[in-house]
Amino acid sequence: MKIHQISLFVENKPGHIAAPARLLAQEGIDIRALYLADTQQYGILRMIVSDWEKAAQTLEAHGFVVKVTEVLAILVIDRPGGLADVLGALDGSGINIEYMYAFSDVRGDQAILIFRFADPDAAIARMQTAGINLLASEELLKK
């Protein structure tokens, strides 16, 4: 259920995202989802890629500081209220979302929500009870 996400520290300067992107391209690694959290000075580039171990190794070998974290991916119907339903399942649980981002799925009318929870196991249990569809990494990476 848990998905490995890799995060990179990048300075907020022209060209600083191109270098890691190029390295991943050279290794034939596909970026499935990407999100940049930024401040004026620097940012954190978060990515879900086709081979996280190889990606982390490659980037570290080139001097990048890489952090691997476990996130959850949730599939929702891309319609009004899709996100609200998922968040509704967490209501009253005290489960804290550290951050989240979303992207639409190429397969059509679905969207994928990526969550980082402070307590992913508690979140998984809660989602499953509520009948919410958590994606395994194979499903997420499949095109």
């Binding site: 520290f9 600083h16 620097y42 954190i44 500081v65 890489v66 974290t69």
Partner: protein, 444 residues
């Protein structure tokens, strides 16, 4: 008769250390007599000193009290370069028994000279250093300072030998052999630079030699600044007691001052070296306890007297008497040199302060760089800190929190507002394994 209570300080009371306990009034009288004699000697024999005295309308008779030393002109390192090689000698070459050379970072080296009497004084102060560290006859002392033009090796060697110890003159280099001899000979004390000993610790671990199981019990470390955290590391990795020793070739070599077993500052052998602390920017004399540049006058040197030599080492004279009972004043451990000093918007800043602030936050020192610029006529200081794997988190709030902690630690330590920039790992240029710490882009 020695009671058991005193037994722990028996080593401190080595006969060689007797002058360390001279009553203060007697010590001051001796210092004045010697100061008057050395000023007269330099005035008679060293042209540069005499002309500087003339400019100020001074003669040796102007020195009537120890306080009068404040009237005398300073001597600086460039004076030694400008008069290279023999311009500051106060003895004819027939009386000079030894020359040492200190490598200059730029241009000519500097030369220092010793008469027989000077070598004897040097040896006597080194004996007092080592005896004060609790060493005595029967100790086996490995001298791993470089032997040769550098004063470290021979200075420690003569001292240890005169103390009655067995000397193993390994000089520097060849760590494997150092460790082998240390083990095979049952070496009990080592004299070297603290960083070289750190290297020996690492190498011994690689060779599977357990330093803690060796008889080695004392390390006398000097010739470069080192910190209390290095001391703790050294002492935890071996079973030695680590002592800080201070000296410089211009004054005599190692043995100007040394820690006693209380480890509360370094006693200066004041019967031979007179210490003052001055403001490095203005040269104004500072009171005991205030931090400034150490200025030393050799009170008994024959071949090359140094009057008010600006050492560029930053320290303070510690107020009060050491618990060990010595009457000799102490200086604080030297952590930095005035050469490193940066003046930012009129405030004195040392890279070592930046280092201390970063250590405070992270526990380990990240790579960092100080970049100075001038914007709209104002100095700006940016501290760039590489984000290490230990520091990195994928949460922006946590990273911002780290940034804020670094910011407030630096503001607090430096007393001025600086910019903190988190930068990507391995982006600060390293030259020969050491990062270049300061980039000054200010133009006047």
């Amino acid at each position: 008769m020695i009671s058991s209570v005193l037994e722990s300080s028996v080593a401190d009371c080595h006969p060689a250390n007797a002058p360390d306990y001279t009553p203060v009034a007697q010590l001051r009288r001796l210092q004045l007599e010697r100061l008057q004699a050395v000023v007269a000697r330099a005035w008679q024999r060293v042209e540069l000193f005499r002309s500087r005295m003339d400019e100020r309308g001074l003669t040796p008779q102007s020195v009537r009290s120890l306080e009068d030393i404040g009237k005398l002109p300073y001597t600086v390192k460039s004076d030694l370069r400008d008069t290279y090689p023999f311009g500051l000698f106060a003895s004819p070459m027939k009386d000079v028994v030894r020359l040492h050379v200190s490598s200059g970072t730029t241009g000519k080296p500097i030369v220092v000279a010793y008469t027989k009497e000077d070598v004897d004084v040097w040896t006597s102060v080194m004996v007092r250093c080592l005896a004060g560290c609790g060493l005595h006859q029967g100790d086996i002392v490995q001298v791993a300072y470089g032997y040769g033009l550098f004063t470290g090796g021979l200075g420690a060697h003569y001292g240890a030998e005169a103390l009655g110890a067995t000397v193993v003159p390994t000089s520097g280099g060849n760590a494997d052999r150092q460790i082998m001899l240390m083990k095979d000979f049952g070496v009990t004390a080592i004299c070297c630079t603290p960083t070289y000993f750190l290297h020996l610790i690492d190498r011994a671990a690689e060779l599977g030699v357990e330093l803690k199981e060796l008889p080695l019990r004392a390390g006398v470390f000097g010739a470069e600044p080192w910190t209390d955290s290095m001391r703790r590391h050294i002492e935890s990795m071996s079973s030695i007691e680590a002592f800080d020793i201070y000296g410089l070739s211009e004054i005599i070599g190692p043995g100007v001052g040394c820690e006693c077993r209380r480890h509360q500052g370094l006693h200066i052998f004041e019967d031979h070296f007179y210490p003052e602390i001055v403001d490095p920017a203005t040269g104004t004399l500072l009171a005991d306890g205030s931090e400034g540049e150490l200025v030393l006058t050799t009170l008994s040197k024959q071949a090359m007297p140094m009057i008010r030599y600006r050492t560029r080492d930053i320290t303070s004279i510690l107020p009060g008497r050491c618990e060990c009972g010595r009457t000799l004043r102490r200086i604080d451990r030297i952590g930095r040199r005035s050469d490193d000093m940066l003046i930012i918007r009129g405030v004195n800043v040392f890279p070592s302060q930046v280092e201390a602030a970063l250590l405070q936050i992270e526990g380990t020192l990240p790579h960092y760089q100080i970049v100075l610029t001038r914007e709209h006529g104002l100095d700006e200081m940016e501290v760039q800190v590489e984000v290490t794997p230990q520091m990195f988190t994928d949460k922006i709030g946590a990273l911002q929190g780290l940034h804020d902690r670094l910011q407030s630690a630096l503001d607090h330590v430096l007393g001025i507002r600086v910019r903190v920039a988190l930068v990507e790992a391995n982006t600060i240029e390293r030259s020969q394994g050491k990062a270049k710490r300061v980039i000054d882009r200010r133009t006047l």
